[in-house]
Symmetry: C2
Subunit: 229 residues, 2 copies
């Protein structure tokens, strides 16, 4: 077959697609640069034109996934009708809705990410997601601070800390996925919802809001993610 000459950006994006598929199929550790080159049908020189290492692919992949997520909630971030608190809660509501919409893909992804051998993958993706989300959240907090709604000493640092709170629910998420379809499913879903509620209270307090102001979960949310096809 004749080699099709592609635009460099299209080629880069295709490389990322191939790498992402391989990381999820075989795990990050077991995938080699040669595997990626082979699947993408590109030369070694072509690969190294875009990326210097497997690590760099992983970083770029994380940032790309996070940017796509921000893109999908852009309307909420830019809606002039919303005040800072309304914007933050709308942002949380939309994030939950995206999780229900993407549920089957998310379950498969988490199933892979939470395996001990993929711990690097999980933490790299999480770090990339945090890097993209911190300025988005910090902007909302700073605006709320200026309007006297939030009360927090440092919007950017506190945005980082609030986003980091998610890591503390990782175990509860892993248990809910593991229990799905077993008699323990309902109890594991309840435990995760309670954990998300407490995460919300921690976020409220860090931002100087009364307990229960930010809505991190509503009843049935975990069930909806676990059973959606």
């Amino acid at each position: 077959m004749p080699r099709v000459v592609k635009h460099p950006e299209a080629r880069k994006s295709e490389l990322l697609d191939c790498a992402q598929a391989l990381f999820f199929e075989h795990g990050y550790e077991r995938t080699t640069i040669n595997d990626i080159i082979k699947r993408a049908g590109i030369s070694k020189g072509g690969f190294y034109h875009h990326f210097s290492s497997k690590e760099e692919i992983l970083e770029t992949l994380g940032v790309r996934l996070a940017q796509k997520a921000v893109e999908r909630i852009k309307d909420v971030l830019e809606d002039p009708e919303l005040d800072p608190l309304g914007r933050l809660n709308a942002f949380l509501t939309r994030s939950r809705r995206m999780k229900v919409e993407d549920a089957s893909m998310l379950r498969a992804t988490f199933d892979v990410l939470f395996r001990p051998e993929n711990s690097v993958l999980y933490h790299r993706l999480n770090a990339a997601l945090t890097r993209v989300m911190v300025p988005v959240l910090a902007r909302i907090i700073a605006q709320g601070q200026a309007e006297g709604v939030f009360n927090t000493p440092d919007p950017t640092a506190m945005a980082e800390i609030v986003l980091q709170l998610g890591t503390s629910t990782q175990n509860a998420v892993a248990r809910a996925i593991e229990a799905a379809g077993t008699p323990q499913a309902a109890a594991a879903a309840d435990a995760l919802e309670e954990r998300l509620r407490l995460q919300g209270i921690a976020a409220d307090r860090i931002l100087g809001l009364p307990d229960g102001t930010l809505v991190f979960v509503e009843p049935g949310f975990v069930q909806a993610v676990m059973t959606a096809r």
Copy 2:
């Protein structure tokens, strides 16, 4: 040399010592079970009598390190003179003092743990440390809750969340270590101290205490850790 017959617990502890040394010398990923066996001078059967995998060694190592740390602050945890808030602050003060005492070892450890290829090592050790510390912290919080000093919805979950806050300073710690001995050292140390102060305020708020009640840092602490021999 004749084979010395050792007590199984002494043998297990020796295996852990060898594994720990190898993980820090060559990295967790690059160390094989065979390397550990060879260094410890034990048979393959002897190894598998104690551990089923390299993963399990890592877990046990993390728990052992955490238990040693708790052992060193036992007097503070059991001092009947201290009220819950005094106990928590004494616990934080002693933790800082241990960090200054162990500074050169800690710097070498973090230098290894924060390398991207040792990310699994870092997160496993952190998880093991959290598992050991959560009940210790939860007991202090529950006591403070009973006495009306703390105000938090769930002592165990909030203990987990408060301990998890430490992960959000990981980048600032890495930068301070990297900058040590360079013209950027003072600025990086200040940035880390400010981050620790904010982490303290987040912990105060989660536990229902006024800002600045829990002391996570005092001026000069980072400098003391960075320059101690």
